[in-house]
């Protein structure tokens, strides 16, 4: 992990997007101080929460923050729940730990939380193996929200779920988040999810943030070739494409990163400078950052698929930016 800088304001949702292995989960665990050390190691940097550096917070205090102020929804609900404890116990445990209440009060609150995620109270005494995947994830959500945290870190909350359940779970997270005004860091590799539920987004590649800004910045004014590549890999409903254009190649081995820009080996625009020199973060417009030598210089880097642009031209449309497909906007608006 290197050069990761994220900020989530109160009540805001930030989407953290990237390929598998880009370091999204590691970033999230790093915030909570949950990286196994060794082999993990915190070299430098700070995690500021309400002005306090969590890296310097003693473990005892961190425990009070975890679950109570910052809580996490995990990627795989199948393995995130303890198989030998009832779901009720697992939710009540978080409440008992962080709230000054009796067992009976915690129980009551646990039931209320279960009902909030639409699981009947009678199932509180059941064990995780008696639940379906979607229900397990709702239990995990109930657990994460049980102490009204200020920040939720949702680590690909829908990746392990059936497509039909994904939307429900996301809706549920969004609804509960809005009800309590909680901020959220939503980790995903699904740009559609970002468009739907985030105000800000950050794109991660090989342990770095390569582009960050508001959702409009990212989708309408896509600046980084990697972000464009991500958009090109998504099928569109209203554009006819013979085949998608995935980003060629693989993410570099994090222990042997290239000398220049990390993305250069896969980048269609890479030139000599890119191979030799690491690009810095450039602020293209207030709040819109991009880590690319080409960013903001001259013509914006548009959709590289000539054919699609030709099609757009034929129809009298301005050359489009692919991000618009996902936002559901008319091209060029």
């Amino acid at each position: 992990m290197n050069g990761v800088s994220l900020s989530v304001e109160e009540g805001e949702t930030l989407g953290l997007v990237g390929e598998t292995g880009a370091g999204k989960t590691t970033t999230a665990l790093g915030v909570l101080g949950l990286i196994q050390c060794p082999p993990g190691e915190y070299v430098r940097g700070e995690v500021l929460y309400k002005g306090k550096d969590l890296r310097k917070t003693p473990e005892r205090e961190m425990r009070q923050i975890r679950g109570a102020e910052i809580s996490m929804i995990f990627q795989d609900p199948m393995t995130a729940l303890n198989p030998v404890m009832t779901v009720g116990e697992q939710i009540a445990e978080a409440i008992r730990l962080h709230e000054d209440c009796t067992a009976a009060e915690a129980e009551k609150k646990m039931i209320a939380m279960l009902e909030k995620v639409r699981i009947p109270a009678g199932r509180a005494d059941d064990y995780p193996h008696q639940f379906s995947g979607g229900m397990k994830q709702r239990v995990v959500i109930a657990m994460a929200l049980s102490c009204n945290p200020n920040l939720i870190i949702a680590d690909e909350p829908t990746t392990a779920l059936d497509v039909t359940i994904q939307a429900q779970v996301l809706d549920m997270i969004g609804r509960l988040r809005k009800e309590s005004g909680t901020s959220m860091l939503l980790i995903t590799h699904d740009l559609g999810v970002v468009a739907e539920s985030c105000q800000k987004a950050a794109i991660m590649y090989a342990g770095q943030i390569v582009e960050s800004g508001t959702v409009e910045d990212i989708f309408d004014r896509t600046a980084h070739p990697y972000t464009q590549g991500l958009f090109n890999s998504i099928p569109s409903l209203d554009k006819k494409l013979e085949r998608l254009r995935p980003i060629r190649g693989q993410m570099p081995d994090p222990t042997r990163l290239p000398a220049g820009c990390e993305f250069a080996p896969r980048c269609p625009y890479a030139d000599e400078q890119c191979v030799k020199e690491k690009p810095g973060m450039v602020e293209l417009s207030p709040g819109h950052f991009c880590r690319c030598h080409h960013a903001g210089k001259g013509a914006p880097l548009y959709f590289p698929d000539e054919r699609v642009n030709e099609l757009a031209y034929d129809h009298g449309l301005p050359v489009s930016n692919p991000g618009n497909n996902i936002l559901g906007k008319e091209a060029g608006q």
Binding site: L29, L32, L34, M62, R63, Q64, I65, R66, G67, A68, S71, M72, F74, D76, T79, A80, L81, N82, P83, V84, M85, E93, A94, L97, H98, V117, R118, I119, P120, A121, G122, R123, D125, Y127, H129, Q130, S132, G134, M135, R138, V140, M143, T164, I165, A167, Q168, D171, M172
Partner: protein, 329 residues
């Protein structure tokens, strides 16, 4: 659950029948007849034949085998020892309590010492403590039992004179045999606990517990240990069964009148009916301990418990959630 236990108890019967048939067959084809040993060196062929007829071992294989089972079912006896002329069941009844006492405490020792050691080694993985306990447990589990018995006896009985060299007249006599029988199980339990704990501690749900802010101590005892218990129970249950059926070596060295010693002497004296009785009792103890172990699994893991249940319990309030549309609404 009751049905399951009954089923498992009934399943012990074919196991015992199998054990009896195997042991009986081995004994039947043994090259030295018990009568030869009983009659001594100067016996004539007629003496031996007469003795064989007296013991009933001149009859055909199936007659003898059927007779053995008939005695068990009809009279509840395991026959009469060729040498001591006593009912085998009485002889075992006299010796078994001593063996069980030693075996139980040895297994208890292995659990009480082995599990905490294993937990500590797992929590402090790659520390000096971890290395020492790993090396010690490998060395101890590789050490032959008779060697350990002799070392213990030499040091604690002969040199320090803390414990008697042989016999179990007082509680002091039990100490060394218990330790000697317990060392290997301790080492096995320690290693199994360590590896099982390490496996569970890396699970996602332990991370979930950490993310909830659960203190480390609770994570170890509540979240990790209970999940790590299945392999530990297996080892402890196995040790319990094995050590309660008596260690032949240990009982021979310390001259303890237990099941192991009886079995050993009956084999060397060709007192086959006694051997058979001992093996049958051992087989029963081990089968029973296996059953107890399996029942303990259900106690620890609700998923296994669910398998044991014959009928599913209906949901408490009768309203199963409709997973799909209701939640999305």
């Amino acid at each position: 659950m009751g049905k399951y236990v009954l089923k498992r108890l009934l399943m012990i019967i074919p196991v015992l029948i199998g054990v009896v048939v195997i042991i009986f067959t081995i004994n039947y084809f043994s090259t030295v007849s018990p009568a030869v040993i009983l009659c001594g060196a100067n016996a004539t062929a007629e003496d031996i034949a007469a003795k064989e007829a007296e013991l009933g071992i001149d009859r055909p294989y199936f007659v003898q085998l059927a007779n053995y089972f008939w005695n068990i079912l009809r009279y509840g006896t395991l026959g009469t020892s060729y040498i001591y002329k006593q009912p085998v069941l009485d002889m075992i009844g006299l010796r078994l309590p001593i063996t069980i006492r030693i075996g139980f405490f040895a297994a208890l020792l292995s659990a009480v010492i082995g599990i905490p050691l294993g937990i500590l080694a797992a929590v402090k993985q790659n520390s000096v403590f971890d290395y020492i306990s790993t090396i010690l447990s490998i060395v101890l589990s590789a050490m032959p039992a008779f060697f350990l018995c002799l070392i213990l006896m030499l040091f604690f009985s002969v040199r320090l004179k803390w414990f008697p060299v042989q016999g179990v007249e007082s509680w002091r006599g039990y100490i060394l045999p218990i330790v000697a029988t317990g060392v290997m199980p301790i080492a096995m339990t320690t290693r199994m606990t360590r590896s099982s704990m390490l496996e569970v501690i890396r699970q996602d749900y332990v991370r979930t517990a950490r993310a909830k802010g659960v203190p480390e101590r609770t994570i170890i005892w509540k979240h990790t240990l209970k999940n790590a218990l299945i392999p530990i129970i297996t080892v402890v249950g196995m040790n319990l069964g094995l050590s309660m059926t008596g260690s032949v070596l240990c009982e021979t060295i310390f001259n303890i009148p237990g099941l192991g010693l009886l079995m050993n002497s009956s084999i060397s004296m060709r007192d086959f009916v006694t051997t058979q009785g001992c093996v049958l009792v051992c087989a029963f103890i081990i089968s029973f301990m296996n059953l107890l172990t399996d029942l303990c699994y259900a106690f620890v893991d609700p998923r296994i418990k669910a398998q044991y249940k014959t009928a599913k319990k209906p949901p408490r309030d009768g309203q199963e959630p409709k997973d799909g549309k209701e939640a999305a609404a």
